[in-house]
Symmetry: C2
Subunit: 224 residues, 2 copies
């Protein structure tokens, strides 16, 4: 029994074509890099998780650094796009901030490895690769929202730059610290949907309360 190429059109077992292979590598790499960072990540470990040969990494991504860049870019893409779709400029500062935080926390809950990766990048490489990833925009947006709110008097007179950083911390630290925190009796399921939901609520509440201007005594007109 003979089969020509024409008969089957495609070969019988390309369960993994080019793009599929790249995808599994990227996924596994994301995990490895998030946990260990560029330097400590092991290409062997990545290959082991995927099931494909180690050499595929070099075939598709040139070397470990190339793979790292690819992972970094892909991870930030979702976050970046989500945040950019906010059109925060047309919202009241309070609403803008809340929507921003919600978007941020949604993204990160969807990909809890992201903060850890950013963290490794920051500390190990001093943001050498991060810079390219244009995720800098995210920080700029949060600063801008805060500036507006302060100018409008709905936020208390805070330092927007400092506060933007601290707010990020309020939201993201949870994901970074999860490893440590899980040593606690309570912290078993820190990344379960329920806990993630709860964390989002708590973080948003803390931040909104933290930036809001104290109920203004000189307010000319008050509603509610």
């Amino acid at each position: 029994m003979v089969r020509t190429k024409a008969e089957k059109v495609k070969k019988a077992k390309p369960v993994r074509d080019a793009i599929a292979t790249q995808a599994v590598i990227l996924a596994a790499a994301e995990e490895e890099f998030a946990q260990h960072g560029l330097t400590a990540a092991r290409t062997e470990a990545i290959a082991a998780k995927t099931g494909v040969a180690k050499s595929m990494i070099y075939y598709y991504f040139k070397d470990k650094e190339g793979l790292y860049r690819a992972v970094l870019e892909r991870s930030h893409a979702d976050l970046l796009q989500t945040v950019q779709n906010l059109d925060w400029e047309h919202l009241f500062p309070e609403v803008a901030l809340e929507k921003f935080l919600q978007a941020l926390l949604d993204c990160v809950s969807r990909n809890p490895k992201l903060p850890a990766m950013m963290f490794h990048e920051a500390i190990q490489n001093h943001g050498k690769y991060y810079k390219d990833s244009s995720s800098v925009d995210i920080d700029r947006i949060s600063i801008a929202i805060l500036e507006r709110g302060v100018a409008a008097g709905v936020f208390r007179p805070l330092d927007p730059f400092q506060s933007a950083i601290n707010i990020m911390g309020t939201c993201l630290f949870y994901f970074i610290g999860a490893g440590n925190i899980q040593q606690f009796p309570q912290g078993e399921q820190l990344l379960s949907p329920a806990m993630l939901q709860r964390h989002a609520e708590e973080a948003i509440a803390l931040v909104l309360a933290g930036v809001r201007a104290p109920s203004k005594p000189i307010a000319p007109a008050e509603h509610e």
Copy 2:
């Protein structure tokens, strides 16, 4: 010209005795581990910073892991002691929280590498070594303060566990993210005394405002 041992009592050039050597190694190791974490840290790099031979590390600390344990313990000691000296139990929750945050931020400003090390530990090793370092107490204290404040009604009804984590994030993320943030034009001197001072103020203000119960309408007695 001959000199006996007795004449000089001690040898002429023991610029580095045992303890001094250990100290410089520990200092250099702290830096290296903070930046790279256990796995990615290079014993060679540590030795290079100290000026002593690489083999001294193994002489005094058995191996890289031994050195890591020693560094971790030493780094946490200051923080742990400072926080334990708070006797927060005799303070009003608001005051206790403020003092706690001030102590935390003082410690960390004194040793900005600490947060990075904690987080490498959290992510790379899932808190395997962190557990021993009894720094867990710190988290417990912050939770306890929050619980009291909520019970007393001076804090809004927040989740103490979640909030404790998020508050830590508010304070510590700054140090972790410094590497990334320094890519910014503004963020040149993020760890200068002035900026550290500013960060402490901003973080404390954000947290205190974030947890405080909204001005109670049913307050029986109001002063100020």
